[in-house]
């Protein structure tokens, strides 16, 4: 089965083990990853077009803002945006930074943690985090959980969308559409281990042959690492690439209310009900004896 590559690891809003999880069938000893080498991105937008084509979305209307960016922002039917930034270095020289923005497919996905709808967000054993719009209730809690500000809401259908890492293609043994379309070899796809190896070699190459001595890999550990990784010119300053967070983490409020607070609340509800039952068993009801009334009313 080609889809044996997509085995469910966990799903959102579900008590107990997700159906189909850990079935053993098609279990993999590797996870997949996309590596984006921003140093070789020429901003051609082939990946954006391939993404739209594969997912069947029309090209959106946009506004020209005097930059090389196609859209002001990601949209519910625009999963993949090359963010353009003109960066001024300390020595007043300019540099154009192009970064392919989209879902990072976190190993610890904040969207999945925050989602209350059973099975609306799925994490596969190969690392892909996918939204299942059939189960989505449109509450947008995923938006609060995402440290990268990725999920986008479609107000018409009340469903949230984001990059699927082409789970449908990957499930059939193909690379994501964006990777297939990339003409410069800036995008790579394979097992996460292979992509880490590749990134390590590329970073060493950049450091050796260029002036980017702080080049490095972006695989943030605050979210358990990601299945979309960057090679950056300057790993100390990811914010320069259009707001890539330096140390992304699932917001602590989400962790707090989805974790200890929820259990405290559940306990309080159960304890409250148990308390009333115990009170009834110990003290019983308040009954009013009607004798007083009778002496006045009855002849």
């Amino acid at each position: 089965m080609s889809n044996s590559i997509l085995q469910i690891k966990q799903i959102s809003g579900h008590s107990g083990v997700a159906p189909g999880a850990n079935s053993g069938a098609g279990r993999q000893d590797y996870t997949v990853a996309k590596l984006i080498d921003v140093t070789t991105c020429i901003g051609c937008k082939a990946c954006e077009v391939a993404c739209l084509e594969w997912n069947g979305y029309p090209f959106r209307e946009t506004q020209f803002d005097n930059t090389y960016q196609t859209m002001p922002d990601l949209e519910w039917n625009y999963y993949n945006l090359i963010r353009f930034n003109e960066h001024t270095h300390a020595d007043n020289t300019f540099q154009w930074l192009m970064r392919k923005d989209g879902c990072m497919h976190c190993a610890d996905p904040g969207c999945l943690r925050a989602c209350p709808a059973d099975g609306a967000i799925v994490q596969y054993t190969n690392g892909i985090v996918d939204f299942q719009q059939d189960n989505c209730i449109g509450c947008q809690y995923c938006v609060t959980g995402c440290p990268f500000d990725i999920p986008r809401f479609n107000p018409e259908t009340k469903k949230v969308h984001k990059c699927t890492l082409c789970s449908d293609r990957v499930g059939a043994g193909l690379e994501p559409a964006c990777v297939k379309a990339c003409p410069t070899g800036c995008l790579h796809f394979g097992s996460k281990d292979d992509m880490l190896d590749l990134a390590e070699k590329r970073v060493a190459q950049i450091r050796e042959h260029t002036s980017y001595k702080d080049a490095g890999l972006y695989d943030p550990q605050g979210v358990g690492g990601t299945h979309v990784m960057y090679v950056l010119h300057d790993t100390n300053n990811p914010e320069a690439y259009g707001g890539l967070p330096k140390d992304p983490r699932v917001p602590w409020m989400v962790k707090l209310w989805k974790g200890p607070l929820k259990w405290l609340g559940n306990f309080a509800i159960v304890a409250g009900i148990a308390g009333t039952v115990m009170h009834y068993m110990r003290f019983g009801p308040k009954e009013v004896h009607e004798t007083q009334k009778r002496e006045g009313d009855r002849p």
Binding site: Q140, Y141, F153, W257, H279, K286, V288, Q292, K293, D297
Partner: protein, 217 residues
Amino acid sequence: MTESRAAIRRYTMAERLGHWFAAFVYIYPLLTGLAFYSPHFFWLAVMLGGGPTSRFWHPWVGLLFAASLLWMLGEWGADMRITDADRQWEKAINHYIRNEDDQLPPVGRFNYGQKVFYWVMLFAGTMLLFSGLVLWFPEVLARQAHWLLLLAIFVHVGAALISIGAFIIHVYMGTAMVRGGFTSIVRGEVSPAWAKEHHRLWYDRVTQQAAQTPPKS
């Protein structure tokens, strides 16, 4: 309840309808809200028509609950002010819990516990309303304001839990514990003995009024 002629009217028809309207528009967001609160309760949303349906109606019915609170503020706000008699009663609340009602000081139309329940629900409802409005349309919030969503979820959950605690006690006392209470909010009447036992000051007031002016109906 053989002497129905002697029964005292405790709640008007409007008050009873208002109470049950409030109960309905509280319970629907409660059940759907529990579904969004925990995966262990998500089956509630399934039973009530599915997640998306529940998500659609939850805020609308919540608005009706806010409206019912506003109505209750107008209807009962004055009655619910905490008086000196209530403070005396509060000091003896342990006797109430132990059903030693003969050791309690007399109170008016509502006792201290009922008043606290009322104000707790009003407070929690206000919190739920404002946090809920933020959560209703997160898409209109600017990206920089997303911290507000986190805060709103926290406040919404916290206020809901407070109201659930109050609601559990309210339902228990209104049905199982205080006999006659449930009938009073359905049929609107209590026996004079009940009124005397639980709300002596109110009983004295209404019986004196009744003695002075003939009852309206």
